[in-house]
């Protein structure tokens, strides 16, 4: 584990992808990372997906734009030397823009956008957010003049969706599964494979959809563009596998989130992607850290801590009415349950990631409310960018 924070981890990186399952604070973390890197002098763009309204407002984000926009330096800290740019991804529009860019003519682009299969693909269908997020990342990496791109990933059931969904959609657009059935012949398409015909007929009978017709039209419209999709997919693969691209896993300290983090790491390793480290949000600090050992008795672990909270109750009874003292002590007891749980989960994560030699695990403590403004981001940033020992100190202060 390195002693530095995110700043050290991202030194030299051009792309930082923040993955993780829904509800773990990914958007906030991505924004705080971008803010911190901008403070250190970089020109940073953060691409967010569906940020909370108040946070979006705080950053001056406008959902009507689909391009990064510079966050007013007056909103940021005095010491910010770089530039912070932010955008909110509009998947439908990103998809449309991609088609407009790749289509040989404006008319063709319009025709594709009117096609029923395309309309389904670009909006309702799951995976379009992931596909367009990667498309936007690729576009910004190629054309944007940024030192660092920070990508928040869509709120999916699990972190791997982000890696798999774009590929699924690309292979559909490439038509690789379908080309074996349909082959373009001049303007239109018709079924050539003799073996395929009965299959398609049966499919039509079962689904009641003239899929062949619809898909033929769609692929005829795409024409040579399918090759562009392949080329782009290869470019995106290269970008994601580049040594200057770091994947950060954002997680919470609860059991299922930690299990998923461990699994995500293994999967990244298998796919050859660079796992930069884990950011564990909402950690409940142990307010009695170090005390269990100093108790008069030889009690350890839970028993000792239960004893501690009982003694806390006794001490509080000197200061407060008995009933109130009891409730305060209960708050400590409950708080300790979560602190011990988080401690165990973090220990498990640390061991799984390779202990002291593994990638860094950065803890951000449970804060007292939602992060919805630059001041809130600044608080998160402070934890992310502190060195390990500074962070330890900050968490102890917060707990005490």
């Amino acid at each position: 584990m390195t002693s530095g924070g995110i700043g050290e981890l991202l030194a030299g990186a051009r792309v930082c992808v923040c993955g993780g399952s829904g509800g773990v604070g990914k958007t906030t973390t991505a924004a705080a990372i971008a803010l911190g890197m901008a403070a250190e002098g970089a020109r940073v763009a953060v691409v967010t997906i569906d940020p909370a309204r108040r946070l979006a407002n705080a950053l001056g984000l406008d959902e009507l734009e689909n391009e990064p926009r510079r966050v007013d330096p007056d909103r940021l800290g005095e010491g910010t030397r770089g530039e912070l740019w932010a955008m909110m991804l509009d998947p439908k529009r990103t998809f449309d823009e991609l088609i407009e860019r790749l289509a040989p003519s404006a008319e063709r682009a319009e025709e594709i956008k009117r096609n029923r299969i395309y309309r389904e693909l670009s909006s309702a269908v799951s995976g379009s957010q992931e596909f367009t997020a990667v498309a936007k990342l690729h576009e910004l990496a190629r054309e944007g003049d940024f030192d660092l791109l920070v990508l928040d990933t869509p709120p999916s059931r699990n972190a791997l969706d982000f890696l798999e969904a774009p590929g699924r959609l690309t292979s559909f657009l490439e038509g690789s599964a379908l080309r074996t059935l349909i082959r373009p012949t001049g303007i239109g398409m018709r079924v050539l494979g003799r073996g395929a015909s009965p299959l398609l007929g049966a499919l039509r009978r079962v689904t009641g959809l003239d899929l062949l017709g619809d898909l033929s039209t769609f692929f005829a419209l795409l024409g040579d563009m399918t090759e562009d999709f392949s080329t782009r997919a290869a470019d995106v693969e290269r970008l994601l596998h580049a040594p200057t691209t770091e994947f950060l896993l954002v997680t919470a300290a609860s059991g299922p989130a930690i299990e998923e983090a461990i699994w995500f790491r293994r999967t990244l390793d298998q796919t050859g992607l660079q796992f930069g480290g884990a950011i564990v949000n909402r950690v409940h600090p142990d307010r009695l850290a170090g005390r269990a050992q100093t108790g008069e008795t030889a009690q350890t672990g839970e028993t000792a801590q239960t004893g501690e909270t009982a003694r806390a109750g006794d001490a509080l009874a000197q200061l407060l009415p008995a009933d109130l003292a009891y409730r305060v002590a209960s708050a400590l007891t409950d708080d300790q349950v979560l602190a011990r749980r988080d401690g165990r989960n973090l220990a498990r994560l640390t061991a799984e990631l390779g202990g002291a030699d593994g990638p860094p695990i950065i803890r951000v403590p449970q804060l007292d409310g939602d992060v919805h403004d630059v001041a809130g981001l600044e608080r998160v940033r402070a934890f992310l960018f502190a060195s390990e020992s500074e962070r330890e100190q900050m968490i102890a202060e917060l707990a005490g």
């Binding site: 909370a52 389904e120 049966a202 899929l211 009695l288 409730r327 400590l332 300790q336 449970q366």
Partner: protein, 308 residues
């Protein structure tokens, strides 16, 4: 209007990380204890994405996990295989085993969602189509997060509209009618008292309305206890010594919890305001627990005691 648990089909939806699966299971336990043969169906592989981590028994099989409570994990591939086998006989079986056919069907936008919800529909039938299976009194669907969840509910109607003829068009029409029948089906949301989940719950309600569906209930999960009055908080602040004593650590814990509870309180008020009187709300306590296993689920099921 029948009570929530008197329907046969309940879709549980909500933003990721709010405890949707936990509430779906707690609802299931509650219903099973009330004597209703219940199954919780997880649409885990709604995207065909591999499961987060393999857990044994989570297959396309109905597994009884407690008295009167079963679970199943529905994936579109298995649903298609079963559908073709049951509905279209030998031709279907031949098709199901064709990789080309699979690739084609799965590439059809919306097909995966339709197949999943089709299996849910099958589970909720009074007479099951799958050989010898017993009917359930209640099917609880652990739906994908809100955005995809809406997709799942919409797909049958979309299909019914665009498909011209054939068995799937007919099935889609029947499923769409079932989903839209408030006597049979309810859609409920799970939420926590934070900005984004509250927004998403209100958004879900509007989306459902636009589709002619109603949000049946909202479960507000993980509410911290309101242990202290404002006046008491004043005394606690006054009592803090910042001297590293045990008593001071307890005061810090109490004040921190109170601050978070107050933030929750604001969001809860906003949720109630937004929902108005028309939607039933159920509030569930934060569980100070290591893990969410059966005892915790049972505690939540107890907390659902007022639910009809």
């Amino acid at each position: 209007m029948p009570g929530l648990l008197d329907r046969r089909l309940i879709f549980v939806t909500g933003k990721g990380g709010v405890g949707k699966s936990t509430i779906a299971m707690a609802l299931g336990l509650h219903a099973a204890r009330a004597g209703r043969r219940t199954i919780v169906a997880e649409l885990a592989r709604q995207d065909g994405v591999r499961r987060t981590f393999a857990r044994s028994g989570e297959t396309f099989e109905e597994v009884e996990v407690a008295d009167g409570l079963s679970t199943i994990s529905i994936d579109p591939e298995s649903a298609m295989e079963e559908y073709l086998r049951v509905k279209t006989g030998a031709l279907g079986q031949a098709l199901g085993s064709s990789r080309l056919f699979q690739a084609f069907a799965m590439a059809t936008p919306g097909m995966r969602e339709l197949l999943s919800v089709g299996k849910v529909y099958e589970l909720a039938q009074f007479t099951r189509h799958t050989g010898g299976a017993d009917p359930y009194d209640l099917v609880i669907v652990d739906s994908p997060a809100a955005g995809h969840g809406i997709g799942i509910l919409r797909t049958p109607r979309t299909f019914a509209e665009i498909a011209r003829v054939g068995p799937i068009a007919g099935t889609a029409q029947r499923i769409a009618a079932t989903v839209a029948d408030p006597e049979f089906t309810a859609v409920v949301a799970v939420c926590i008292a934070e900005e984004m989940p509250v927004n998403e719950t209100l958004w879900l309600r509007d989306q459902l309305q636009a589709d002619g569906l109603a949000l049946g209930a909202v479960f507000v999960n993980a509410l911290l206890p309101g242990r202290f009055t404002g006046e008491e908080i004043g005394s606690l602040r006054g009592a803090r010594g910042r001297d590293g004593t045990l008593a001071d650590a307890a005061l810090a814990a109490a004040l921190s919890e109170h601050a978070r509870a107050a933030a929750q309180h604001e969001e809860l008020a906003r949720l109630r305001d937004g929902l108005g009187a028309g939607v039933a709300g159920f509030e569930l306590p934060y569980l100070f627990a290591d893990t969410l296993l059966e005892p915790e689920l049972r505690a939540l099921a107890d907390a659902l005691g007022g639910l009809a």
